[in-house]
């Protein structure tokens, strides 16, 4: 792949020894020989398998949990319910003051999505654990579910998550994350065209080839060592300490070698209950998601719905952009309140638009909680924004790259979230892509730059 060094050459010194060179990956030989050690490549005598009994319903009251038959099965060592979890209700981002706690480690009085964990069984083998899962009896009373983000926000919609009191995350008293910059109504009034469109996406799975999981080993001194493929060791350690209500120094996380993450392993989901199980049984415990759990129970990329209303002049200038955006968080917050703010901050895309309004809603629905994924808060927004740009270009009969050149942000431009642009390079990547693909860009744009006055 070609490096084009002449562009921005005056902002760069290239006399380095160890950076800017393609040294071989330090993990490559381990990978090609099979010697790289992933968390699951460890074996401990007496290691137990943890399996979850999961809700078959999207939304239901739990009337009764009967674990007696499972507990009597040979090879079943312990069965855990919410009553065994010292501090059962948590939310991952409480560590950076994003609250309230809204999610149980093990469901208490109701389930809020199909696949939610209710009971954990610990058995001598995976086969016994699977049989024990089938032997746990849970009586439910089904509740009406809500699946659509806009339906969920209507009055009278079933309440998904009582900890929020509404089917949305509250941002400092607001029902959505707001961005207000300029006056979009004035912009629309002055515009030659108003383009209003709707975009949406369905949830997407990270699908790492290695599923999410961990092994927890009780040490002789009473500490617990967790071998994990988490993407964030201290988020996991700190949350697990709070959930177990145990001194943090009892817990140790070892990881750092992961068989693909893509955001799917930032949830603190297998470790706390595995820590607890190892602590209670004094046995090593392994909790790995099956592929089916990885596909349907682990957090996906959120579905989003995005409404864009643009005010556009005949010459291609976009003078107002109003965004109404809904992130389907599923039943619990996990990282979605943060991702929704990130989505709001990303608007109106890499363009300088004088009037911008964003309402970004983090909505709860009775589906698998969504969470971070590669491009968190941005991927679906970029899809919507960039298709919108294509529609505008065709509406006014302008080359779509020229339209973007005209509106592209440049150094010194104000952004809707109040920062000033620096280090922009949108103009330059378009110029180079145009050359690479023989895009018929008007020559006058080839001499422009992102720099001041460019």
């Amino acid at each position: 792949m070609e490096h084009i060094r002449k562009i921005f050459a005056d902002e760069r010194s290239d006399d380095h020894n160890a950076v800017g060179v393609s040294i071989e990956r330090s993990d490559g030989l381990g990978h090609v020989t099979g010697k790289t050690q992933f968390y699951a490549d460890r074996h401990y005598p007496g290691m137990l398998t943890l399996k979850m009994v999961r809700s078959p319903h999207h939304h239901a009251k739990i009337l009764n949990v009967d674990t007696s038959a499972a507990e009597k099965m040979p090879g079943v060592v312990r069965v855990l319910t919410h009553a065994d979890v010292p501090s059962n209700i948590y939310t991952i981002l409480r560590l950076i003051q994003v609250e309230p706690n809204d999610e149980p480690v093990l469901a208490v009085d109701k389930v809020r999505f199909k696949g939610e964990a209710v009971v954990a069984v610990l058995a001598e083998s995976e086969a016994i654990a699977r049989d024990a899962v089938d032997a746990v009896r849970i009586d439910y009373e089904e509740l009406p579910p809500v699946f659509d983000v806009e339906e969920a926000l209507k009055p009278g919609a079933p309440l998904v998550n009582e900890y929020h009191g509404n089917n949305y995350f509250t941002y400092e008293g607001h029902h959505c994350r707001r961005v207000r910059y300029g006056d979009v109504e004035k912009g629309f009034a002055a515009a030659d065209h108003v383009v209003e469109e709707r975009y949406s996406s369905a949830p997407i799975e990270h699908a790492p080839v290695e599923t999410t999981g961990c092994i927890v080993v009780p040490e002789a001194n009473g500490r617990l060592t967790c071998y994990s493929n988490t993407q964030a060791l201290f988020f996991t350690l700190d949350n697990a300490g709070l959930i177990l209500n145990t001194p943090f120094q009892r817990l140790r996380l070892i990881g750092g070698t992961v068989g693909g993450g893509f955001g799917g392993k930032v949830d603190v989901i297998t470790e706390p209950v595995a820590f607890l199980a190892a602590d209670l049984t004094k046995r090593p415990v392994k909790f790995s998601y099956s592929r089916e759990e990885e596909m349907q129970v682990s957090s996906p990329r959120a579905a989003e719905r995005i409404y864009i209303k643009d005010g556009v002049m005949n010459d291609g200038r976009i003078v107002a952009r109003q965004i109404r955006l809904y992130v389907d968080a599923g039943a619990y917050s996990r990282h979605s309140p943060y991702g929704t703010t990130k989505a709001a901050a990303h608007m109106p895309g890499p363009y300088t638009i004088p009037n911008v309004q964003v309402d970004a809603h983090c909505v709860y629905a009775n589906r698998t909680p969504s969470s971070a994924m590669r491009g968190f808060g941005v991927t679906i927004g970029d899809f919507a924004l960039e298709v919108q740009m294509d529609k505008i270009a065709r509406l006014i009969g302008m080359d779509p790259m020229a339209l973007r050149m005209l509106n592209a942000y440049r150094d010194g431009d104000a952004k809707a979230h109040g920062e000033t642009t620096k280090g922009a390079a949108l103009v330059e990547v378009m110029q180079e892509a145009a050359k690479l693909a023989d895009w018929p860009l008007d020559g006058k744009y080839l001499s422009e730059s992102s720099g001041k006055g460019g």
Binding site: G30, V32, T33, H206, A207, E210, T211
Partner: protein, 161 residues
């Protein structure tokens, strides 16, 4: 359940184990023989990470009962190198930046070895075919295909030398 004996050759060495009836080859390789280079990504036979060779044929070890390999010869990723010398396929994956997380790599390399053992000069389409049962989520496959093609050339040179 009474455990049953399984005796087979793995990477040139005889292995004899008592296993649960129905135990999968992948579990025996990983848990009993400590050959953890064979990865398990799905236990459904749909990802290819657990690919090994039995008597030269590719199989998915997560779906193969260990009893089925009695008397047979199994090659895992740990048996691809000879006397500590990497196979050109392994070299090409490392130098060609064809690994990222590494979790699919074992299965990919075993699949590539089966291809090149049988067909020293494959076309790009034949390489694509050979790895189409192996899922990689990181690389976009392009560097893997290129690595296998360059390894094929390297192996041909080594053979003619």
């Amino acid at each position: 359940m009474a455990r049953v004996p399984v005796v087979f050759t793995v990477n040139g060495t005889e292995a004899a184990e008592f296993v649960e009836p129905g135990a999968m080859l992948s579990d025996v390789l990983r848990d009993k023989l400590d050959l953890t280079g064979t990865r398990v990504g799905c236990s459904q036979g749909t990802c290819g990470a657990c690919t090994v060779m039995i008597d030269g044929e590719l199989i998915l070890s997560c779906l193969t009962p260990a009893q089925r390999v009695n008397g047979k010869s199994v090659v895992t990723i740990e048996g691809v190198a000879t006397n500590g010398e990497l196979d050109p396929i392994q070299q090409a994956f490392a130098t060609g930046f064809a690994t990222q997380c590494g979790f699919c790599t074992s299965g990919m390399i075993v699949a590539a070895k089966a291809l090149l053992d049988a067909n020293p000069d494959p076309s790009r389409d034949e390489v694509v075919d050979a790895i189409s049962g192996n899922i990689c989520r990181c690389t976009g496959y392009e560097p893997i295909i290129n690595a296998i093609l360059s390894a094929a050339a390297e192996r041909r040179v080594a053979k003619s030398a």
